[in-house]
Symmetry: C3
Subunit: 332 residues, 3 copies
């Protein structure tokens, strides 16, 4: 039994197989291959695309999706082991995982980090605890990585660029009023490097570098796949000749859990917004973002409404890649 | 591609076709005509009947319904164009409409007005923005009109009265502790007038008149269809010889967004409750309401539990007419 | 038409039939017997197992489940008759029951007691009002009893013990930081006594005795079925030679609605936790709990992770017994 917790655990060949299956499903979306199968979808955070695409995707394959919001419509959950459960949580992940494994064939979970202690959150403790106690495959619907988003991104890049090896992929930090999760940024590094792209991480200063685990992985994966990885704080250099600009905002890890202090840094970098002038520096590059996106904050209306914006394609491809993941994990 | 935003955009013949289809579906409710099709249902406000009847109706036709609550389980949405999105909304309607159009074949939305500025709300900006950015048909699940309720009402009137032309239809304002949406009242005028009824709007004083756009439409539609339209503040005159009493509470538009001031008016009109004594003035008339209804506030227990109350039939017919709307918009 | 409000209304033979059907469904879970049928699931309180197992169970039988949360995503409901509805509720149970009966073939409701006045709550007024106004069968998803849990418990006991008559069944009160609903405790008495077990109720002092209605029923049922019923405050005597230890925490009824006063009692009884030392006194007994369970508060990790803990089996059996109840109530 394999989980889908991070693409780092999957080979490039396996990921490639998922993408080929996704392309087939895009051509032939309504099938009966998961009749009688079911997935429990646990959302500890809001969702629009992930919720819709998993629920719809499962049903388009003939299966059943159950959406639960622990702490809201379902009981709050304790994820740590050995705790005397005197606090708010009424239920332990051991039982949640065990019971849902009895009911359903798959479990998906969205569990953003808690934004208190990165040393703890960087180990992805919530989904790891769920996977430990479950007897069915677990799917990551965004924790500190977002592997379904990665697949959708790579599917889109291939649709638009064909072969992606050694194409210049720029991951740019953007402005946002609050310090957000690094998950999609971490994930963008993982997938672009795994497929051998020339990856540039653009961020305002070193405080916005990503966790060493992900930067190192990017370096290793590009080494293996014939790409390259570099970090820069120079906007113009980064955008120059880019084939892909991928935008995301995230919080500075050295200030993790201290948003007021982080604000003093962040406030200076509003100009990292993706605009048409910056995009003009690229090699007729395409632009994408995982969405949701605050218009005229992370990217301008001009960029979002341009022909080179493929964010909508990437969002659509979430549906297809996730159906591929569910089929693969169930061996169907 | 046609949306279902307001019956004012549909001809009486088209609406008639929807009602005939609904009658067929009432006889033969479980079908497979929407297999593999899907609808996204966006609720910005609470719902019981609308939620249940759309979700159930889609599934009874073999399709898939995805229920989303933007701002609660899904991200908050900005509906205005050109905004620098520095406020609460994480996502723009352009992306919501675009992405859901990629996933689903239909989108329904419930978006009550904001009760701040009627000059703005009267243009129905939320659903208009959604329709502008969507590439699939949009269904109005109640904004400043409630066209699905209209169809259910007219289906019920025909079931009970047969031909409705020149039957006396009284829309009466009723008491409620708060100033509510005018949508169902606006809609009652539209549908009763479109089908040539003799329409009387009964309200306590001119401050409770409906927006001129809807009163004018009622006048125009009755002119075209051979009915009549009048406004009165005289309870006894209104109920006399009525064939249909349709009740709804709404806020006084001149005090829109100022509920405390409106209360000074409202507090005097508790006696507009629909009771058995008033109903005795009618031409053995039937009574209905869109529900939810506060018993003994808007109408008495005696009226609600009477043989002439057809509110339950109207509620049931929501299911049938909405299935007809979905089939029609998808050309199936 | 029969409702499923309490097992007290069903004969042991009828319950036995449900359990046999459930065993068949456990072997053959995916069927088409409820195609086109639907259930509305009303949750006035949180749920994980009940929600998942009803939603999934209905769909595994080919039917449709609609989940509603009145007061949250759907309108708040007034359950009393004859009220002038000037308070928060926008809708009366008469209409909720009537409308949902038009839409769906079954209605389930979870409505915990209000923890204000036990003299009122002990009559189970919410589900009784719903049943009075509905024209389709009502299923109790936990009110002051939890009959679906009872069936799952008895199914599990039979799977593990074979014949249950005159096996020693100990219902033990456990610690929990707040005074909880007595429903599962009441229910455990009902089902164990109905099947002729030797039932012991263990609680810290008389204030934690269960309502006389349920203790009397347990006495009557054991008389009829050849079992026995006793109450004790002696932990060691209760656990000795037990075949089954069933744990639940609940509030002291004499202090119902006064949690601060109840705390003065409760705080002394933390040692009622189910631990391995107590379990060692049993006749190699099995342990179960309805879940959710606070680990190391109600029962230790050692007990929960032991081979004799069958709580997960009981949770799984919820799915099977509820499918049996739905099929039975629909005569299918």
């Amino acid at each position: 039994m394999q989980h889908f917790l991070s693409t780092a655990d999957w080979t490039q060949e396996q990921l490639d197989g998922l993408l080929r299956l996704a392309a087939d499903l895009k051509q032939d979306p309504i099938q009966d291959r998961l009749r009688g199968k079911s997935i429990a979808l646990l959302f500890l955070n809001p969702s629009m695309r992930t919720r819709t695409s998993f629920d719809l995707g499962m049903q388009q394959l003939g299966g059943i999706a159950i959406v639960l919001q622990p702490g809201k419509d379902a009981w709050g959950v304790e994820f740590k082991s050995g705790v005397v459960m005197d606090a708010d949580a009424e239920e332990h992940v051991a039982e949640v995982a065990g019971v849902l494994s009895r009911y359903c064939d798959l479990i998906g979970i969205r569990a953003f980090p808690l934004f208190q202690d990165w040393a703890e959150d960087r180990n992805d403790p919530v989904i790891r605890a769920l996977a430990k106690h479950a007897s069915v495959p677990i799917i990551n619907m965004e924790t500190i990585v977002h592997p379904c988003q990665e697949l959708a991104l790579m599917m889109t890049l291939r649709e638009k660029l064909g072969e992606v090896r050694n194409r210049k992929f720029v991951l740019t930090w953007t402005w946002h009023p609050r310090p957000l999760n690094t998950a999609v940024a971490n994930s963008a590094l993982l997938i672009a490097s795994k497929f051998g792209m020339d990856v540039t991480l653009l961020c305002p200063e070193d405080a916005y570098r990503l966790d060493s685990r992900f930067e190192s992985a990017a370096r290793d994966f590009t080494d293996q796949a014939g790409g390259s990885f570099q970090v820069t704080h120079d906007i113009e250099a980064a955008y120059s000749d880019a084939d892909v600009v991928y935008a995301k905002s995230w919080g500075a890890l050295p200030f993790y859990g201290r948003p007021d202090e982080e604000w003093e840094l962040r406030r200076k970098y509003r100009h990292f917004i993706v605009d048409e002038k910056k995009m003009a520096l690229t090699n007729k590059g395409i632009f994408s973002h995982c969405l949701p996106l605050r218009r005229n904050v992370k990217a301008t209306d001009g960029v979002m409404d341009s022909d080179y914006c493929v964010a909508m394609d990437e969002a659509e491809n979430r549906l297809h890649v996730q159906k591929a993941v569910m089929l693969n994990l169930l061996g169907l």
